[in-house]
Structures are given as C-alpha cells and as structure tokens.
C-alpha cells in the first residue's frame, strides 16, 4: 500500500503560535485513519492544516505523490480532498438538495446526476428531505447532509472533524457504519474523533496526538490493546 497522504515534520498553528509541532503521519489508500488524543492536543489543527485552513510554518504535506503544502483550500478540492468541519457544517437556509449541489461547484463531477444518486444511496433518509432547508434537520441528519456535500466532489480523501460530536449514541453507530460504506466505495478517510474506543474499532490505523506532538501510531487493534494508550485515552482498562 502506498501512502495517499503523507504529513512530514508539520508545524502549524494560528497567528504564529504553533499548536502542532513536527507531526508525522501517513495515510494509506482506502483506509480509515483516526486521530485521537486529549482535548487541546491539536487534532483538529492537524486536520485543518492538511486542508490549508491554518498557517503552516514548516513541514510538508504530500497527496498522491504531489507536494500540496503551498496550495489553497480551493485548489485542494479539485485535486480530490474534501472536508466536513465539526460544527456549522451545513448551509442552514439552503435546501438539502442545494447543499449537495454546492458541493459540486469547486470540482464539477463528470455526471452530476449519477454522483448525486450515488450519494443519496448512502443516505436514503435524505431523499424525503431534499426540498427542506438543512437548518431544520436533526443533528444526525445535518451530519449526513454535510458528509453528502463533501462527497459530491468525488473526493479521494475525506477529512472529518469529529463526525459524531453532539450526536446521540444511536447515531454514533449509524455514522460509523456509514464511514465503512464510504470507504467501501474507494474513499480514504482521515478523521478526528472523541469517541476513541469505537473509532479505533472501525479504523485501520490510529494516531495518538498529545500536546501537539506524535505520541504513538499503530493499527486500530494495536492501540486498543496498548496499555498506556488504554489507560490515558480510552477511559480505563475495560477496552
């Protein structure tokens, strides 16, 4: 497996103050990679830096063998990267259908109707809500609209910032199942997740970030079995 995304020696933050320092991370094609760690560890910052939403002071990001460190977000979307932010991730006054449509503007797919059909087959619940403003939907449905919008540009890599934040435990299962389905369609996923234990169960690889630095990386199973990880980040020994 070749690395689809490769982060090397990345230092970045906001307004000159580094939040992450010298972070390294490889994401192989067709895998689900999850970034976990305590609050303030710089997980979201890492994800945002990959998507050119923070100021990077050093290090490199490579995607599909190409250095994308200097590119702007609007240039990354056509290359095949999409992101779903943690909050405010739908356009509330636009209808569900319009939200999906906006997802195609930066990187128009060849056959828009086919892509829309394939996205809706992932989220069949949205079919009845297409004409409804996205702001009127429940939290879980909004998350589906947000993921649907991100998939409309047919990304190779999907970046998800805490896709289960604020959702009920029932939705947690649904979202994780959806991620497995999205991966089945050939999309690589890199996500930040607070529900570390459940996330590691579906993840191929996990990366633990502490204080803005790499702590440990490994397969989901290894990390679940690792004593130090379990004690510090997975809430006790009962994993």
């Amino acid at each position: 497996m070749s690395a689809l995304l490769s982060v090397a020696g990345l230092t970045a933050g906001y307004g000159g103050v580094p939040i992450i320092e010298d972070v390294n991370l490889d994401v192989a094609e067709h895998e689900i990679a999850v970034i976990i760690g305590p609050n303030g560890a710089g997980k979201s910052t890492l994800l945002k830096t990959v998507f050119a939403l923070t100021s990077r002071s050093s290090g490199a990001v490579t995607f599909s063998g190409r250095d994308i460190s200097g590119l702007r977000t609007a240039q990354l979307v056509p290359l095949g990267i999409s992101m779903v932010p943690q909050s405010r991730n739908v356009f509330p006054t636009l209808t569900v259908d319009e939200n999906l449509d906006v997802g195609t503007y930066a990187a128009p797919p060849g056959d828009k109707d086919a892509v829309r059909e394939s996205v809706l087959s992932l989220f069949p619940d949205l079919r009845d809500k297409l004409a409804q403003p996205a702001g009127e939907l429940s939290g879980g449905q909004r998350q589906m609209v947000a993921m649907g919008r991100a998939l409309m540009s047919e990304p190779k890599l999907l970046l998800l910032d805490e896709p289960t934040a604020g959702l009920s435990p029932a939705y947690l299962e649904i979202i994780f199942d959806l991620l497995l389905n999205i991966r089945k369609r050939g999309v690589t996923i890199l996500m930040v997740e607070q529900n570390a234990k459940q996330a590691l169960r579906i993840a191929d690889t996990g990366h633990v970030l502490v204080g803005g630095k790499n702590f440990v990386s490994g397969t989901g199973e290894t990390l679940l079995a690792d004593d130090s990880v379990r004690r510090s980040f997975l809430g006790g020994a009962s994993a």
């Binding site: 977000t73 609007a74 932010p85 739908v90 319009e98 906006v102 503007y105 930066a106 540009s153």
Partner: protein, 296 residues
C-alpha cells in the same frame, strides 16, 4: 377608494420600488460582507447621473439608457471595493462601515463636481397621466417603475434559487467559513454581489430621479428608509428586502390618507418618520425582520 389607489397606493408602490431595489443591495452586502454599506444611497445617485448624462448624448427615453447608469455604478462599486473595502476585509467590520461613510462623501462630492449641485431633470415638460377605464389615473412613469421592479424581483428570485452563482451567494451569506471549506471562490461571489447590488441601486436612482429630479443628495436622503426596508425584510434576505421596501413605501404614503374624517391621518410633512418608526419598532420587538434574517 379610487383616490386612494391613484394618489396614495400607486405613488406608495413607486417609492416602495425605489426602496426595494436599494435595499436588495444593502441586504446582500450585509449578508455576504457583514457590514452596513452607508455609501449605497450615493451609489444610486451615481447611477442616476450616469443615465442623465447618457440622455444628453442619446435623446431617447431615459429608462432605455438604464444600462449606462448601471455600468457606471458597477464600475464605481468595484473600484471602491478594490481600493477601500478589500484592504480592510480582515479587520473588524466597523472599519469598513466607517470607510463606507467616507466613500459616501466621496461619491456625493464627485457628483457635485461633475454634475453641479442643482436640480436637473431627465426630460423637461409635464406628462399627462395614463387613464385606465376612465377611473385610474396613473403616471406612465409610476406604471413603468412598478412593472420593471416586479420583473427584476422575479428575475432575482430565479437567479438566487436556480443559478450556480446565486446559490453560491446564498451559501457564502449562510456560512462563509463552510463556503471556503467547500472550495467556493469567495472573492468572486463578493464581486458579483457588488455588480448586482450596484446595478439595482442604479435602477433605483434613475427611478427616484425621474420621479422628482436629480440632485447630489438624492440617494443619501433615501438611505435610512432603505436600511429600514432591509431590516424589515430580514438582513441577508434579498427577497425580504423587496417586500420590506414595498411595505415601507406604501406605509409612508398611505398614512397621509384621510382614513378618519377629512384630515390626513398623519400630516404629509411627517411621513418620512414612518420608516424610522417601523425600523425602531422592529429592532426592539422583531430584530430578525419579517423573513427570519440575520441579527444585526
């Protein structure tokens, strides 16, 4: 009843159309750039003078020369955005608000410099009203203004809901950060917001100038009523701004009707207070406006 329609309702719809077209730009600019554009009235003035000048060279009906006024207003708006507002974009929006006050003064002074401070008319002479069914006596200009405004409103609605650019504008107005994350070209959306806002302001300026006369303070005097219309419709809701403009225009004219007995309900000299009364009442009791706009 006929008098009410001829002398109050139709003139109310006419001035309401002017407010509506100006308020659309104010509302869209607030929605997308998050600042109250105080130079919008003077942008109307610039558009009005653009058509006035075109009429000197091409003596046909002024409304046919609207594109010249729109072009002048668009160039003016894009220029001030490029040189005055864009450099301030990353700072708190109060800087841009203050800058727009300055731009308003620049526009007004330029209008005085180029076109003098006096009143000027588009076409001299008195035109008799159009009589319909022997009862309705409506000025041809009022009919043209109302019909053109309705056409513009319908076109704007389809543009915002059906076209890619219109949807992108609503997306940026909804969640600017998500719009960037989705890879939308925000600066392009901003440019088109100015183009549309300025074009509609120019139309409003010409309508207002033809109804009375062109003078450098024309737009500035209408500005606060347009703000009231934008607030009434819900900030960031262009179609709401159109409704808000028409409501305020009709309210201003019809409060002077002899509703009870032979006296006007409110003396015509006080009618411009109606817009402000509506605006203050809204800000106190329903700040999101009629159509659930953004809170100021």
């Amino acid at each position: 009843m006929i008098d009410f329609i001829n002398l109050y309702l139709v003139p109310g719809l006419t001035i309401g159309s002017v407010y509506a077209l100006g308020a659309v730009g104010i509302s869209m600019i607030f929605g997308i750039l998050r600042f109250a554009h105080f130079a919008h009235g003077d942008l109307m003035t610039i558009g009005g003078y653009g058509v006035l000048t075109a009429v000197w060279f091409i003596p046909i009906h002024p409304l046919l020369l609207l594109p010249f006024g729109m072009a002048l207003a668009i160039v003016a708006a894009l220029a001030v955005d490029r040189f005055f507002y864009r450099p301030l974009r990353q700072l708190p929006t109060i800087y841009t608000v203050i800058a727009s006050f300055g731009v308003a003064l620049i526009f007004r002074s330029l209008a005085q410099l180029f076109w003098s401070s006096g009143n000027q008319v588009f076409v001299p002479g008195v035109r008799p009203p159009v009589v319909l069914f022997d009862t309705f006596r409506i000025s041809a200009l009022h009919a043209q203004v109302i019909i053109l405004t309705l056409i513009i409103a319908v076109a704007l609605h389809f543009f915002l809901t059906r076209s890619k650019l219109g949807r992108a504008m609503r997306a940026v107005s909804d969640e600017p950060e998500l719009a960037s994350v989705a890879g939308l070209d925000t600066e392009r959306v901003v440019r088109w917001t100015w183009v549309i806002g300025a074009a509609l302001a120019a139309a409003a300026g010409v309508f207002a100038g033809m109804d009375t006369s062109m003078h450098p303070n024309l737009g500035w005097n209408l500005l606060l009523a347009m703000f009231a219309a934008a607030v009434l419709g819900g900030i960031g809701k262009p179609m709401g701004a159109i409704a808000g403009g028409l409501i305020i225009g009709i309210a201003e004219e019809t409060v002077t009707y002899t509703w009870f007995g032979g006296e006007p309900l409110i003396s015509p000299s006080y009618k411009s207070a109606v817009a402000f009364f509506i605006m203050v009442a809204l800000l106190l009791f329903r700040p999101q406006g009629l159509f659930k706009g953004r809170l100021l």
